[in-house]
Amino acid sequence: MQSRPILVGLASPRTGGMLALAGVIALLPLFLSNKYFYDIVVLVGLNAIVCVGLNLLIGYAGQISLGHAGFFGAGAYGSAILASRFGWPPIAAMLATTLAVALLAYLVGRPILRLKGHYLAMATLGMGIIVFMVITTEDAYTGGPDGIAVVPFSIGGYVLQGERVWYWVVGALLLLAVWLAQNLIDSPAGRALRALHSSEVGAEVVGINAAKHKVMVFVISAVFASVAGSLAAHYSGFITPGKATFLHSIELVTMVVFGGMASTFGAVVGAAVLTTLPQLLAVFEDYEMMVFGAVMMGTMIFLPRGVVPSIARLFQARSKQQIGDKESGA
């Protein structure tokens, strides 16, 4: 009996999970011996922020987006252009870019989200590709396919530089993103989203404004992607259109699915695994991609709901069984 409340507590979104994540972020530096490891973790954090947002859309609202790299790229390039070419303060550039991306997502989302299934996937894909094409062709501003240098992020006179500083900034923002997502899911709006996921018609029958909720969550996820994009641009110091490619969109969706849909922490785990895996697998050299594929297939076969939900279920099933054993024994 003892184990169950603890497990439930850990699984309860706003307390246990957040604490565990905060603990991991606080303790991780003990194991990071050099800047390279910090760099990987920062990239994990940035990807995780995007995935937490994308998971709201895919996992909870049940809407697919194959164009999120477009929002990421728009955020990155918006910040880069405003801050580097026009000399805006980075924070102002980031805010302006985020607003612009939110507006873009709203305008695009309204008509697009009336579509369903494959049509929605295609429309978001098209949007992502348009962003990519604009970035590649408008080389007077974006530097074209060869990319553009970005000034470091600064607030007031303080310049954010070095992997360690960025680690704490990205860590804090990831916590914030997770907190926002968990709160949203636990709110009436979140329940409305889940209702939409199970049955859009059913949800509308009970009085949920489907269009409004879908657009809302689309805009929120675009904002997450855009902010992560802006930060990634300043952190890297140089960006190329590679950030906005269709392939990157697919990677993001894969992270969400791999970690486990409809699980915020699953999105974080998915981002962490898929960002670090290529680094770990680099030792296989020529067979890297094959091993990568094998890991992906293995996970999907043995943990079909994604890493976190599948393992959580396993624990739940086991603790239920224990309770059952004890009750029947008593």
Binding site: N34, K35, Y36, F37, D39, I40, L43, T136, T137, D139, G144, P145, D146, G147, A149, S236, G237, F238, I239, T240, G242, K243, P278, Q279, A282, E285, E288, M289
Partner: protein, 388 residues
Amino acid sequence: MKSKQAGSSIKRGLAAVAAVFTLMAGTAIAADPIKVGSFLSVTGPAAFLGDPEQKTLELYVEKINAAGGVLGRKLELVAYDSGGNAEKARTFVKRLIEQDKVDVIVGGSTTGETMAVVPLVEAAQVPFISLAGAVVIVEPVKKWVFKTPHTDRMACEKIFIDMQSRKFSKIALISGPGGFDKSMRGQCLGVAKKYGIEVIADETYGGGDTDMTAQLTKIKNTAGVQAVLNAGFGQGPAIVTKNYRQIGVSMPLYQSHGVASKEFIKLAGPAAEGVRLPAAALLVADSLPQSDAQRSVVVSYKNEYESRFKSEVSTFGGHAYDGLYIVVEAMKKAGGTDKAKVRDAIEATHGFMGTAGVFNMSPTDHMGLDLSAFRMLEVKGGNWTLVK
């Protein structure tokens, strides 16, 4: 059962750790190898660059080691596949610098990947030789960054000089959407004036286009065009060449060094006859005169590569050869792997004969090639021939 298993796995783990430590201690007693780091686009859209580059590095590191290494120490190649992705390139370079602690970096197949890592190598002060094309890599000069390939500006200049000698002054430009095409178009427009050349038509085509007749017809109907230059890469230029003949344009057609491979002649077929382009001597290695100072270098590289990998040599692999040997020579000159000394020695590279030409680097020139590195070639009888 369980505890026993756990015990044995811990033992195994300890044994592994011990083995690693003995290994590390073992190598510390013998001379440490010199670590050459590399990140190349071995897969992905730029694989045609990264693949021959990686093969070349592996081949020659092996050969150098077989001949006793450098300064009595073996070379160790640490290479990662960045897949044409600037973000990956950046992470791998951090890994090379922080984790692998390499002495020097030779790599970076594309300009984007190279530019993304420039801030890192500058901060870490590691000598870096890039294998990418664009001028921006070495202009303005960056203290720790060098490159071995010719620039697109040099290609433009070589072409314009040839045009001058044929008394052309009004030309048309047609280019594609890629990074190479865009960069070269910009450079050509920039230096045209210097050679008294006026670009009176400037057309572009898209990435997936399979027919460029519309753009070419426009050029054909522009009064006064004397020659056409196609700044392009991949399939596009072959299609341009075919369409060019199909609509019966009679003006001379110039291509860029971007299509300097047999593949282009195969794709364009008989339409390629008479097309001129600037390229490295490597392409015409066997037909270089015996007196040519570059002949022995390019012929031996070509033979080594082709006999080992059973595939045709490309200029891209040659850039890796040049980069590796410039580094090796610099280390010999510096008498060690002290990064600052090696950097100075690279900068002082003088008269080094590579596959791309003679390298004469200086504090203001971190590439060191001049226009003599390019040969003007013409397609004749389905093969490259030197324009005399």
